[in-house]
Symmetry: C2
DNA sequence: GCAGAAGGCTAACATCGTTAGCCGCAGGCG
DNA sequence: CGCCTGCGGCTAACGATGTTAGCCTTCTGC
C-alpha cells in the first residue's frame, strides 16, 4: 500500500515531507504560479508522475501546506496571547482571569495575525482564500487556531467572528494592494481593535 | 489600428462588449475555471486567437469585468445610502446632514455590500482578490465606490478603512465557506456595525 | 482602383495536471 | 535459496491552457 492512504492525515513520511517542503519553497520564493507538479518534482530530483505515489493530487499537497501554515499561525497567536496576558496592564480594572485589558489582548492578537500574513503572503492567501478541506486537517487544529481570539472576547461567538472578519479583511486588502499605495494602516487597525474592545 | 489600444480605457466597441459579456456569463454560470479564452471565443462564435484583436490578454478581459462589477457595487451602495438617509430616523439627534443615524447608515451599506457579494460570488472574488489594475478602470470609479462609506463615517479615513476591512473580511470568509456550516452570521454583522457606529 | 487597416483564421509552442503502464529493487517467506 | 509482492521510481501520452506568428478576406478612404 502506498503513502496515498494516509495523505488525508498528516503526511509524516520522508518523501511526503520533502514534497511539501519543496512546494512551500516554490510558493514563498516564486509565488503561486511556480507551484507546479513538475517544478516540485524537479526540486527533489524526481519526475512529476512519481508525486502521485505520495499525494492523491495537487490539492492534497496544498492541503498539507495549509495545515502547516495553520499550525504556525496558531502558535503565533498563542505566543501573542501569552505576551499580552501579563503586560503593562492598567491596574485594578475587572479584566478576565488571564490579565491584560480586552483592548490589549485583541490588539496583540491582531498584531500577530497581521505579522504572520505579511511575513508569508502567498501562504496566507492559500490558507484563507479557498474552502478549507477539513478532512485533511489534524484533529482540533482549526479550534486551536481560533481559541486565543475566542478567549480574548470572552467566549462570544459573534464578537469573535466579527474581529476575525475585520482582521482577515484588513490583511486581505493589504496583501491585494487595495489600499492606496503607501497608506498608513496603523490608524485603521487601532480604530478596529478599539471598536471591538469597547 | 486595432481595438487593443483602447482596451485600457472602457471597452465600448460591440465585439469587446460581447467578449466581456461572454466572460461574465461563463464566470457566473460555471465558475472561474470555465473562463478560458477558448470558451469565451466559442460562446460568441469566433476562435480564441481572434480575441487578441480586441484585448491584449486574458487579464485585460478580467479587468473589464472588474470595472463592470465595481460600477454595479457602487450603484448598490449609493442606493443603500439613499435608502438609509430618510428612513425611520430617531428624531432630534444631531446626525450629519444626510439624516439617518450613523449605525443605520453603516448597517445599510454593509447590508448592500454583503448582498452584492453573495449575489455575485465569483465576480466579487475576481474584483477583490487581486491587485487592482487602476489604469484599466474608468476615472473616478474607485472613489465613487468608496464615497458612500466615506460619508457614513464622516470622512474619517481610518474608520472607513476599518469598516471596509470588516465588511470585506466577513464576506470573503463567508464566500470561502470558512465559518461553521450553517452558522448564523447576522449577529456577527450586527456586532461589527455596532462597534464601528459607537 | 488601390492601399491599408480591421478582424477573422490555422498551426503551433510551451506548460499545466493527470493517467497508463512498465520496471528495478527490497523484504518476507516458503 | 528462490520466489513474490509491492513500493517507488520511470517514460509516453492526453487534453487543456494562454499566447504568438503568419496568412487571408473584407471594407473603407483617398
Amino acid at each position: 500500500m502506498s503513502d496515498v492512504s494516509y495523505v488525508s492525515a498528516p503526511p509524516v513520511g520522508g518523501r511526503a515531507r520533502e514534497i511539501v517542503a519543496a512546494a512551500r519553497e516554490l510558493l514563498e520564493g516564486e509565488g503561486p504560479e511556480a507551484v507546479s507538479m513538475r517544478r516540485i518534482a524537479e526540486r527533489i530530483g524526481i519526475k512529476a508522475p512519481s508525486l502521485y505515489k505520495h499525494f492523491a493530487d495537487k490539492s492534497a499537497v496544498e492541503s498539507a501546506l495549509v495545515a502547516q501554515a495553520m499550525a504556525e499561525l496558531a502558535e503565533a497567536l498563542e505566543a501573542a496571547e501569552a505576551g499580552s496576558a501579563g503586560s503593562a496592564g492598567s491596574a485594578g480594572s475587572a479584566e478576565s482571569a488571564a490579565g491584560g485589558s480586552r483592548l490589549e489582548r485583541i490588539t496583540a492578537l491582531m498584531g500577530a495575525y497581521r505579522a504572520y500574513a505579511l511575513a508569508h503572503p502567498d501562504l496566507y492567501r492559500l490558507m484563507s482564500g479557498q474552502p478549507l478541506d477539513r478532512a485533511a486537517l489534524p484533529e482540533g487544529l482549526e479550534e486551536r487556531a481560533a481559541a486565543p481570539l475566542m478567549r480574548a472576547v470572552g467566549g462570544d461567538h459573534d464578537a469573535a467572528r466579527a474581529v476575525w472578519g475585520f482582521g482577515h479583511g484588513m490583511v486581505a486588502l493589504e496583501l491585494a494592494g487595495r489600499f492606496p499605495p503607501g497608506a498608513d494602516l496603523s490608524g485603521a487597525w487601532a480604530r478596529g481593535c478599539g471598536a471591538f474592545a469597547g
